[in-house]
C-alpha cells in the first residue's frame, strides 16, 4: 500500500466507525465501543507510516488531489496534503484520540447513550483529521465546521441538563461568529487570487498579487476563525461553559485538539498574515494568555480551572506564532495536547471517583488515587513549564520569541509583560489546583471515603499520556519536522537567555506562591481575596464578559428579532389593513357608513376596497329618480368636460 492509502485509512476509519455506530451502535455487543476504539487505533497505526515518511525526509510532501465540484472555470478542489506539520498533527491527534477513546470506555460506562457517545467521538476525530489534512481553504472550512458540529453534539451530550444544552448552543454560535469571519477571509482571498488552494494562495501572495491593508484585513478575517475555534479573547466565552460535556470530551476536544485547530490553521496559512496583522494577533493572544490565567486563580470547578488554563495556553501558542515563534507556537500546541489531555483525564478520574467537580470538596486524594496524582503532577509540572517536562521547552521558546519581538519593537513591551506574567500565573493556578485537590485534609469526608482509584482502562491512558507529557519536549524532534514557511526575522541574540531566566523564575515563583498559600498557609487566600475584594469579584466573575455579552449583544438582539416580528405583523401585514381601518375611522366620524367587518379578520386591501364599495353602494338608494339623476349627472359631467 502506498502512503496515500494509509492517509486515507487514517482519515476515514473513524468516519466508518461513526457511521456504523450511529445506525447500529445500540445493537452491537457492548454497544460498539470496541469498534470505535478499534478504528481509532487503526487510524493511529495508519498514521505512523506518514510520520515515518516525514521523519525520513522533512521536506517530504504528499498531495492527494481531486475536484469536488467543477462548474466550467470555477471549481472547488478536494485535496489532502501531508507535510511535516500534518504528519505530526495526524499522529498526535490520532494517538491522543485513541487513548481518550479507551479512557472513555471506563468513564462513560453505563451511560444511556453510550453508543451515541462513541459515534460522536469518532466523528469528531474524523473531522479533526480532515481539518489537519486539508490542502485548501474551502475544505479546511468544511472540516472546521464539522469539528464545530461534533463539539456541539458532545458538549450537549447530556442534553437533559439545560446547562449542557445551553453550553453546546453557545459554543456553536460563538464559533459561527468566528467562522463567518474566516469565510469572509476565504472569499477575499478567492476574489483576489482566484484559488482556494494553500499553495497557490501562498504563491500569489509571494508574487505580490495581494498585499497591503487588504491582505491585513483578509488575514484578520481568517484569524477571526481561529479566535472562535481557539477561544481567543473576546470569543473565549464558550470554552469554560463547554466543560458541561463529559470530561474525556473536554480532554480531547477542548484541550488537545479542536481548540488547537485555530492555532494549527494560523500556522498552516502563515503567509497570509502581514506583520500588521500579527501585531493585532499578538495582542489578542497576549490578553487571552494573561487574563485567562487570572481568572483561573479564582475558580473552584476543577474542570473550569483547567479550561481557563487551556485558554491561557492557547493564548501562548498564538502569541508565539504572532511574534515570529512559528515553531515554538506549534510545538507548544503539541506538548500542550499531551499534558492538557492528561490533566483533563486525571481530573476526570477525580470526578469519576468523587462525583463532584468542586475543588472545595476535595483534598487529600494523593493517597487514595496515586496513579491519578502522579500523572496529574507530571501534567502540572509540564504546564507550569518546569524543566525537563515538555511544557518547559515549548513555553520557553514562546517567551523567547516574544521577548525577541519586544526587543525589536519596544513599543510592544506589554506583550512581554503578558507573557512573563502569564507564566507566573500558570505556575500559581496549576499548583493551586494540585494542592487543593490532592494534598491536605479531605474537606468532604463523605465523598473522600467513597473515593477510589479509577479502573485500568482509565489509568493506562493516563500513564501513557504522562510519559509523553514528560518527554515530548526532548530531542528537538519537532524543529526537525516543522519549518517556517516564510523567512522569519531573528530576534536579538540575548532574548533567548533572558527568556529562559524569566520563565524559570516566573514558574518557580508561581509554584512557590501556591505552596505558601495552599500547603504552608503563610498566605491566606481568603484574606487576599478580602483585601482586594473588587478585583477578586471581577476575576471570580470572569471579567463579566458573559454578562456584557448578554446585556450588550444577546438581549438587544432578541429585542431586535421581536421588533422585526412585530414590524412584520403590525406594519407590513398591517399596512393595507391600516388603510382600511383609517377609512373606517373617518367614515365613523361621518357617521353614515355601516361597515360590517366580516369574520373580524384583518382583510388586507379588502377593507379599503370594501369601504369604497360601501360608499358607492349608498348611491344605489332604491329610488329610481335618484338613478335617473345620476344618469343625467353623468351626461352633464361628460358634456361639461367636453365643453370646458
Amino acid at each position: 500500500m502506498d502512503l496515500a492509502t494509509y492517509v486515507l485509512i487514517a482519515l476515514f476509519a473513524p468516519l466508518a466507525g461513526a457511521t456504523v455506530q450511529i445506525f447500529l451502535g445500540r445493537r452491537l455487543p457492548r454497544h460498539g465501543d470496541w469498534l470505535c476504539v478499534g478504528v481509532l487505533f487503526v487510524s493511529f497505526v495508519a498514521s505512523i507510516p506518514t510520520f515515518n515518511a516525514v521523519w525520513a525526509n522533512p521536506a517530504f510532501k504528499l498531495q492527494i488531489l481531486s475536484e469536488w465540484l467543477t462548474l466550467g472555470s470555477f471549481g472547488i478542489p478536494l485535496g489532502l496534503q501531508v507535510d511535516g506539520l500534518t504528519g505530526i498533527m495526524l499522529t498526535v491527534v490520532s494517538f491522543i484520540a485513541a487513548f481518550i477513546h479507551l479512557y472513555s470506555v471506563g468513564y462513560m460506562h453505563g451511560d444511556p447513550r453510550y453508543s451515541r457517545y462513541f459515534a460522536y467521538l469518532n466523528f469528531f476525530t474524523f473531522s479533526m483529521l480532515g481539518l489537519v489534512l486539508a490542502d485548501n481553504f474551502f475544505l479546511i472550512y468544511v472540516f472546521w465546521e464539522l469539528v464545530g458540529l461534533s463539539s456541539y453534539l458532545l458538549i450537549g451530550f447530556w442534553f437533559e441538563r439545560p446547562a449542557a444544552a445551553n453550553a453546546g448552543k453557545k459554543a456553536f454560535i460563538v464559533n459561527r461568529v468566528g467562522d463567518v469571519g474566516f469565510f469572509v477571509g476565504i472569499l477575499l482571498l478567492w476574489t483576489q487570487l482566484g484559488t482556494f488552494r494553500f499553495e497557490e494562495v501562498f504563491k500569489g501572495i509571494a508574487a505580490g498579487q495581494m498585499a497591503g491593508p487588504l491582505l491585513t484585513v483578509t488575514g484578520l478575517c481568517v484569524f477571526l476563525g481561529a479566535v472562535g475555534k481557539s477561544a481567543q479573547f473576546p470569543l473565549h466565552v464558550w470554552l469554560p461553559d463547554a466543560m458541561e460535556g463529559p470530561t474525556p470530551v473536554s480532554a480531547l476536544i477542548h484541550a488537545a485538539t479542536m481548540v488547537a485547530a485555530g492555532v494549527y490553521m494560523v500556522g498552516r496559512v502563515y503567509p497570509v498574515f502581514t506583520p500588521d496583522a500579527f501585531v493585532v494577533i499578538a495582542y489578542v493572544a497576549g490578553i487571552t494568555a494573561f487574563f485567562a490565567g487570572t481568572i483561573a486563580l479564582t475558580q473552584f470547578d476543577i474542570k473550569r480551572v483547567i479550561a481557563y488554563s487551556t485558554l491561557s495556553q492557547l493564548g501562548y501558542m498564538m502569541l508565539g506564532l504572532a511574534t515570529g515563534g512559528y515553531v515554538a507556537g506549534l510545538f507548544h500546541l503539541v506538548t500542550h495536547a499531551f499534558f492538557k489531555a492528561l490533566m483533563f483525564l486525571a481530573a476526570g478520574s477525580v470526578i469519576h471517583a468523587l462525583h463532584t467537580q468542586d475543588l472545595r470538596e476535595m483534598g487529600g486524594l494523593r493517597a487514595k488515587m496515586p496513579v491519578t496524582f502522579w500523572t496529574m503532577m507530571a501534567g502540572s509540572l509540564a504546564l507550569a513549564g518546569v524543566p525537563p517536562f515538555s511544557g518547559f521547552f515549548s513555553k520557553d521558546a514562546i517567551i523567547g520569541a516574544t521577548l525577541g519581538f519586544v526587543m525589536a519593537h519596544p513599543q510592544h513591551l506589554l506583550l512581554a509583560l503578558f507573557a512573563v506574567g502569564g507564566a507566573l500565573l500558570t505556575g500559581l493556578y496549576a499548583f493551586r489546583l494540585m494542592f487543593l485537590a490532592f494534598t491536605g485534609a479531605p474537606r468532604d469526608r463523605e465523598k473522600h471515603h467513597h473515593a477510589h482509584e479509577s479502573p485500568p482502562v482509565m489509568t493506562v491512558p493516563l500513564v501513557v499520556l504522562a510519559v509523553f507529557a514528560v518527554g515530548a519536549g526532548w530531542g528537538g524532534w519537532f524543529e526537525r519536522l516543522v519549518r517556517p514557511p516564510v523567512e522569519l526575522p531573528h530576534g536579538p541574540a540575548g532574548a533567548h537567555t533572558l527568556a529562559l531566566a524569566l520563565s524559570l523564575l516566573a514558574a518557580g515563583l508561581g509554584i512557590l506562591l501556591a505552596y505558601w498559600t495552599y500547603v504552608v498557609g503563610k498566605i491566606s487566600a481568603g484574606r487576599v481575596a478580602d483585601r482586594y475584594r473588587p478585583v477578586y469579584t471581577l476575576l471570580f466573575n470572569k471579567y463579566y464578559v458573559d454578562e456584557l455579552y448578554a446585556a450588550g449583544v444577546v438581549r438587544p438582539f432578541l429585542a431586535l428579532t421581536r421588533g422585526c416580528a412585530a414590524f412584520d405583523l403590525g406594519v407590513i401585514d398591517g399596512f393595507v389593513n391600516w388603510c382600511g381601518r383609517f377609512t373606517r375611522g373617518v367614515s365613523r366620524v361621518q357617521g353614515w357608513i355601516d361597515f360590517r367587518i366580516v369574520d373580524g379578520a384583518v382583510n388586507l386591501v379588502g377593507n379599503a376596497i370594501r369601504a369604497w364599495g360601501a360608499v358607492l353602494r349608498l348611491v344605489q338608494t332604491g329610488v329610481v329618480q335618484n338613478y335617473i339623476l345620476v344618469l343625467l349627472g353623468g351626461v352633464l359631467v361628460i358634456l361639461l368636460l367636453k365643453v370646458l
Binding site: V623, Q625, N626, L629, L632, G633, L636, L639, L640, V643
Partner: protein
C-alpha cells in the same frame, strides 16, 4: 316690414306648449297635470301643422290626445279611490333637478347655436298622408311590421301585467 302670421302663430303655440308643459311638471294635482298635457300635445300638433306635417299633426291629436292621455287618466283613476281625486304628486330632489335641467338646456342651446345647420329653403309639401302611407309600404315596410309586432307584444303584456292576479 310686416310681422308674419307664422311668427304670431308660432309664439302663441310656444306660449301654450311651454306654459302647459310647466303646469304638467309643477302642478301638485295629478289631474291638472294630465289636462295640461293635453294642451301641450295640442300645441305640438299645432307646430306640426306649421311645419306642414299635416298627417303627423293628425296622428298626434289622435294618438296622444285620444289614446295615450285617456290611458293615463284611466291609470290615475284605477290607482286612486274616486273620492280622493285631489291626488297630490309630491316632488323630490328639486334643487338638483333644477340645476341639472337648467344646465342641460344651456348646454343644448350652446350646441344648437354653435352648429352651422345646413338650413335650406323649405320646400312645400302637399299630401304628406299619401306619401307617408306609401313609404310605410315600401322603404319603411320592415319598421312598420316590426312596430306592429311590437304593439302586439305591448298589448298582450299590458293585459297580463295589469290583469287581476293570475289564475286559480
Amino acid at each position: 316690414m310686416q310681422i308674419p302670421a307664422e311668427a304670431i302663430v308660432f309664439y302663441a303655440l310656444t306660449a301654450i306648449t311651454v306654459l302647459s308643459g310647466l303646469v304638467v311638471v309643477t302642478s301638485r294635482k295629478l289631474v291638472h297635470s294630465a289636462f295640461a298635457l293635453v294642451f301641450a300635445f295640442s300645441g305640438l300638433a299645432g307646430y306640426y301643422v306649421l311645419l306642414s306635417a299635416d298627417f303627423l299633426a293628425a296622428a298626434q291629436v289622435l294618438i296622444y290626445v285620444g289614446g295615450i292621455l285617456i290611458l293615463i287618466l284611466f291609470a290615475v283613476m284605477l290607482t286612486h279611490r274616486i273620492e280622493s281625486l285631489d291626488i297630490r304628486s309630491e316632488t323630490l330632489q328639486l334643487l338638483p333637478a333644477i340645476a341639472g335641467c337648467g344646465a342641460i338646456v344651456v348646454l343644448m342651446l350652446l350646441a344648437v347655436y354653435r352648429t352651422p345647420w345646413a338650413v335650406k329653403e323649405p320646400q312645400v309639401l302637399t299630401q304628406t298622408a299619401q306619401s307617408i302611407g306609401s313609404l310605410f309600404m315600401t322603404d319603411y315596410l320592415l319598421p312598420f311590421e316590426v312596430a306592429s309586432v311590437h304593439l302586439l307584444i305591448a298589448l298582450v303584456g299590458a293585459v297580463i301585467i295589469a290583469g287581476k292576479r293570475g289564475g286559480q
